[in-house]
Symmetry: C2
Subunit: 292 residues, 2 copies
C-alpha cells in the first residue's frame, strides 16, 4: 500500500510555481496577483483564506484580501466583483464560499469575469471543462488529477466510482475522469444518496473517489483488494482531545480500508493541500494569460 | 415489452407547442422565430434542416433558412451569426453541423449569443446544465428525458449506463440522469471505447442508453431482463433494397434485444423524432424569453 502524500506533492508543486514566477519576474514580466473576498468570520472560511494568502506568498504571487462584515449587501459585493473584473492588476480572484443567506452565491459567481474565475465555478468554465476545452478547472478535482498524474496511477479503461454529485467535486471529477486524456479515459460511475447499489458499485471500483461528506462512510468491505482510494471528505467531527475542538475526518474509514488499497490518500494531508495548490496553478495560468 | 413510440410522442408534443403558440399569438404576443444556417449540401444536413423547417410550420413558428455554399469563409459565417445575435426578431437560431473543415465549429458555437443558442452547444448552456441551472438543453438528451417522462419510467436510484461520451449526447445525458430531479436521480455510468468492463456494465444496467454510433453493437447477452433500452444510434448502413440506398441503423440489435426489455426505442421512430421536438421546445422557451 502506498500512502499518497498530498502535502509533499503540494510543496513540490508550489516550488515549481515559485521557480516559474521568479523566472517570469526576472524577465521583466508581471507577478501574478490573486485577490480574495472574504465575507464574515466563519471559522472554516477564515482558515482557508489564510492558507490561500500564505500559499500566494510561497509561490511568489501578489495577494490582496478584501474583507466584508456579514451584513454587507449583495449590491456592495457585486460592485466589488465588478471592480475586480475591471482591475488590470488583478489576474484572478475568488469569493470565499459560503456567503450569508441574503446574498445569492450563484449571482456572485456569474458576475465574476470568467477570465478571472480561478475557482472555475463560472458556467463558462464548467461548460468548457465538460466539452474538453482549456479552462480554469475547479480546485479539488484538479488537485486529485495532479495526484494521479504525479503517482503515475493508471486510469485508462479502469472503473472509477465517484461518491457524491456536487457541482464542485463530483460532477467535474466525473468529466475529468471520462475525458480522452491521461489521467482520464476511465469508465466513470457517479453514485449519490439515491443510489440503490452504491455498495456493489464501490466493491467493483478500481479507483474510488469519496466526496459525500459523510465521515467514515467507506468501510473495508466496500473496497476491492488493490483499489486506489481518494478521500475528499473533510468533516469537522467534535474531538475534546484536540486544541481546535474538532478532528478533520474523511469519508473513508482509513484504518480498515488502507491495508486493502494499492494507493490511498490520508485525511488530513491528502487531497486537502492539493486544493489550494490547484488555485495557485490557476492563478499562474491567469497571470500568464495562458487560457483566455 | 413496451415499444417507446417516439414518433407519436413527438407529434403530441408538437401539438401542445402549436396550441401554446396559437394562444400566445391570440393574446397579441410574438410568434417564436427560429433561424437556421445551412452550409453546403451534405445529404444528412439537408434532411435534418428540412425536417426542422417543417416542424417549425407544424408548431406555428416563423422560420428562416439561410444557405451558404461550402466555400463560405469563416468570417462571412461569423458575421451572419453576429447579425442574427443582434436581430431582435430572431428568438433562437442554429448553425447546422458539421461545417466544412476550414471553419472552426467551436468558434462558430461560441460566437452565438448563448441566449439564442437553442441547440444548447454554447459553453454557458453546457455549464448551466451541469450545475443544474435553467438553460437550453441539447436536443437528443432532452428528447430522451421527455420520453422517460411521458412513459413514466422510474429512474430514481436505478443504474443507468450510457455508451458514448460525446459532447452532444453522452456527457449531457449523464448530467441529466444524475441530477436531483424526475426523471433523474439515477446512478450513472459512462462507458466508451476505452472501457474494459463495458459488457458487464451493460449487463447490470436498469436503463441502457446506447450512443456510440456503432450499428448493432448491443446484443441480447449484454442486456438484463427487464431493462429499459434507449437507442440513439442512427448510422446510415448501405442497403440496396432501399430507395435512399441506406438503412438507418441503431446501436442496438433490436430483434434479439427487444424481447428482454421492459421498454425499448426503435430506430427509426424512437429518439430521432424527439430530437427535433426538443429544438422546438427550446425555440418556444426562447420566444417566451423563459430562460434568459
Amino acid at each position: 500500500m502506498t500512502l499518497i502524500d498530498g502535502k509533499a506533492v503540494s510543496e513540490q508543486v508550489k516550488k515549481e510555481i515559485a521557480a516559474e514566477v521568479a523566472d517570469i519576474v526576472a524577465k521583466g514580466g508581471k507577478r501574478p496577483h490573486l485577490a480574495a473576498i472574504l465575507v464574515g468570520h466563519d471559522g472554516g472560511s477564515e482558515t482557508y483564506v489564510a492558507a490561500k494568502v500564505k500559499a500566494c506568498e510561497v509561490c511568489g504571487f501578489k495577494s490582496t484580501l478584501i474583507r466584508y462584515e456579514s451584513d454587507v449587501t449583495e449590491e456592495e459585493l457585486l460592485a466589488k466583483v465588478r471592480e475586480l473584473n475591471a482591475d488590470a492588476d488583478v489576474d484572478g480572484f475568488i469569493v470565499q464560499l459560503p456567503l450569508p443567506p441574503h446574498i445569492s452565491e450563484q449571482k456572485v459567481i456569474e458576475t465574476i469575469d470568467y477570465r478571472k474565475d480561478v475557482d472555475g465555478f463560472h458556467p463558462i468554465n464548467v461548460g468548457r471543462l465538460s466539452i474538453g476545452l482549456p479552462c480554469y478547472i475547479s480546485a479539488t478535482p484538479n488537485g486529485i488529477m495532479e495526484l494521479l498524474r504525479r503517482y503515475q496511477i493508471d486510469t485508462r479503461g479502469k472503473k472509477c466510482v465517484i461518491l457524491g454529485r456536487s457541482n464542485i467535486v463530483g460532477k467535474p471529477m466525473a468529466m475529468l475522469m471520462m475525458q480522452k486524456a491521461v489521467p482520464g479515459d476511465a469508465t466513470v460511475t457517479v453514485c449519490h444518496s439515491r443510489s440503490k447499489d452504491l455498495v456493489r458499485e464501490c466493491q467493483e471500483a478500481d479507483i474510488l473517489i469519496a466526496a459525500m461528506g459523510q465521515p467514515n462512510f467507506v468501510k473495508a468491505d466496500m473496497v476491492k483488494e488493490g483499489a486506489v482510494v481518494i478521500d475528499v471528505g473533510t468533516t469537522r467531527v467534535p474531538d475534546a482531545f484536540k486544541k481546535s475542538g474538532f478532528k478533520l475526518t474523511g469519508d473513508v474509514k482509513f484504518d480498515e480500508v488502507a491495508p486493502k488499497c494499492s494507493y490511498i490518500t490520508p485525511v488530513p494531508g491528502g487531497v486537502g493541500p492539493m486544493t489550494i495548490v490547484s488555485l495557485m496553478k490557476n492563478t499562474l495560468l491567469a497571470g500568464k494569460k495562458a487560457i483566455y
